[in-house]
Point group: C2
Chain length 378, copies 2
Amino acid sequence: MKFTIQKDRLVESVQDVLKAVSSRTTIPILTGIKIVASDDGVSFTGSDSDISIESFIPKEEGDKEIVTIEQPGSIVLQARFFSEIVKKLPMATVEIEVQNQYLTIIRSGKAEFNLNGLDADEYPHLPQIEEHHAIQIPTDLLKNLIRQTVFAVSTSETRPILTGVNWKVEKSELLCTATDSHRLALRKAKLDIPEDRSYNVVIPGKSLTELSKILDDNQELVDIVITETQVLFKAKNVLFFSRLLDGNYPDTTSLIPQDSKTEIIVNTKEFLQAIDRASLLAREGRNNVVKLSAKPAESIEISSNSPEIGKVVEAILADQIEGEELNISFSPKYMLDALKVLEGAEIRVSFTGAMRPFLIRTPNDETIVQLILPVRTY
Amino acid sequence: MKFTIQKDRLVESVQDVLKAVSSRTTIPILTGIKIVASDDGVSFTGSDSDISIESFIPKEEGDKEIVTIEQPGSIVLQARFFSEIVKKLPMATVEIEVQNQYLTIIRSGKAEFNLNGLDADEYPHLPQIEEHHAIQIPTDLLKNLIRQTVFAVSTSETRPILTGVNWKVEKSELLCTATDSHRLALRKAKLDIPEDRSYNVVIPGKSLTELSKILDDNQELVDIVITETQVLFKAKNVLFFSRLLDGNYPDTTSLIPQDSKTEIIVNTKEFLQAIDRASLLAREGRNNVVKLSAKPAESIEISSNSPEIGKVVEAILADQIEGEELNISFSPKYMLDALKVLEGAEIRVSFTGAMRPFLIRTPNDETIVQLILPVRTY
């Protein structure tokens, strides 16, 4: 194998596939990055067996030559060293050549690295995915779907299925749900696919987070192919494979209250900042909660109390307070997480009593719902 | 105590004095910040008994009113909470009022915090320093003196005196020396004081690092008052006290070779980047070294070898190579540290053999010297 490649593109691809490489793996070759040079270009692959990422650099793009292949071939190089080395090479082009015994020469200007490589035939094959049907979603929408749900997955392995986001496709609609059983995030999106196609899978939260990091913010379509055990996201020159979580995702529709007893509409930023301030003292309190008091036709009060340190109270002018008077306590972290992913200047919070889950939404937007369970404080 | 103050100035002062506050202290009141409101303005003090910082906010600056004192007084507030609270307050002004039992109200807009304070009379007094004689150094020079030496102090407590920087004043010249016994940094500066004034003290490296962080980059003079046990730096509205280290600093003058057998002059940036690249593999090697080979009238070669991973070799065009042929090994970290604080496009390295300390300097600048001990590799 021997080729010359643009350094900036090499660095970018290596950084992308590096996101799938774990230093804690039981399969030693997976600490490496597989490089395959073919007549069309060079591909880089990283994997931790849960996630696999392949990034392809074509020989040419438009009229520009990016790679010059002198001899096709393949090699596996230690990911940690290879990624640090390419970042620090001195010139705009890099030559990579495999010699005898998998010894690999990396040359750039007057710098020459010799790295001991491994046989690429020993590298596990990527999942084979038959792609009869793909779902297509614009990259920016996909990133939003992830951002607005993935933060709510469970970080505890006691119920592994909750560490993933449930993707359910029914009647040309995608429904993404994440919950750690204390709060829930739900996001819907219309899909341009036949009504009778349906899926119901759980994608590991970690996979979605890593996927989101390597996708650029643009409107290009990402092809998504879902199988029994794997999901494949195909963006331009990047393939992202993730295994799916085994098991049935709990039915969460019954959790979401259909009616409400108290409704408030407030300025998102003012509300968020007041919760953020109250959380400063809540962190010390035994319950780690802030309290919200709403009196219709008056104002909303956010407060928190940490006996040893002190207390904080703040009034917020609501744009609307309707229904019953309410005193409710909740985790400020969950509230901040939910508020940060909602778009729009105003938010609507719908309560059905101090002990029932409540909903946070953007007025007139039914595609996203955040739900939080209150905390009993007595 | 009751006053109203500009939030941005309050935040700035609190952040400055916070640098002296440690959460790991045996004196509970030192986890707090002392606030004293007088007729002239408000002062804030933080201390960990080694370092004490006082920041003063005057009532007025130019024509602008910064503080309105309604009632003088004092209080100590928990540093961690107070500093986070003031950063997150909603409005441009803040009202701070002490009520009964040291209960302190912090108001800004509609947000109201009640913090349990402590009696300011319980707060330890700052060192009393008689300032007959002060040394004056422009702030930007002082920051350079610190930056170019403090990185070389020892981080090990086996010889506590080496965790500080030796400041020696003699014949109107300040000589700052730091060493961890593997490398040494030395910086001189002319002072505008009488020739017969002399000092020889050791300032803890940590104190100098924190001092440097709170000084702005400008040319205003900092007054430095040195006593037997303390040093005080007086900048505009800030007093920075540090205890001095006990003991005699070793005499390092004999360490510095007066002659040289091999001299090279190279481009600083090219040299630094080559060392940086070689260090990628050096980190894995048993000795953690890079090797430099210089052949007069030819070129310089930087290399490193880590048998399991691979090796790297790079030639550098030298502007000058004079004297004997040389092969020498050293820690790339020490070399990078030294190169980063040297100014100028070129550097001169003077060797006196593979086993002797060598010097790194900027050509024609005798005010700064970096010395590194080589590593024996056989």
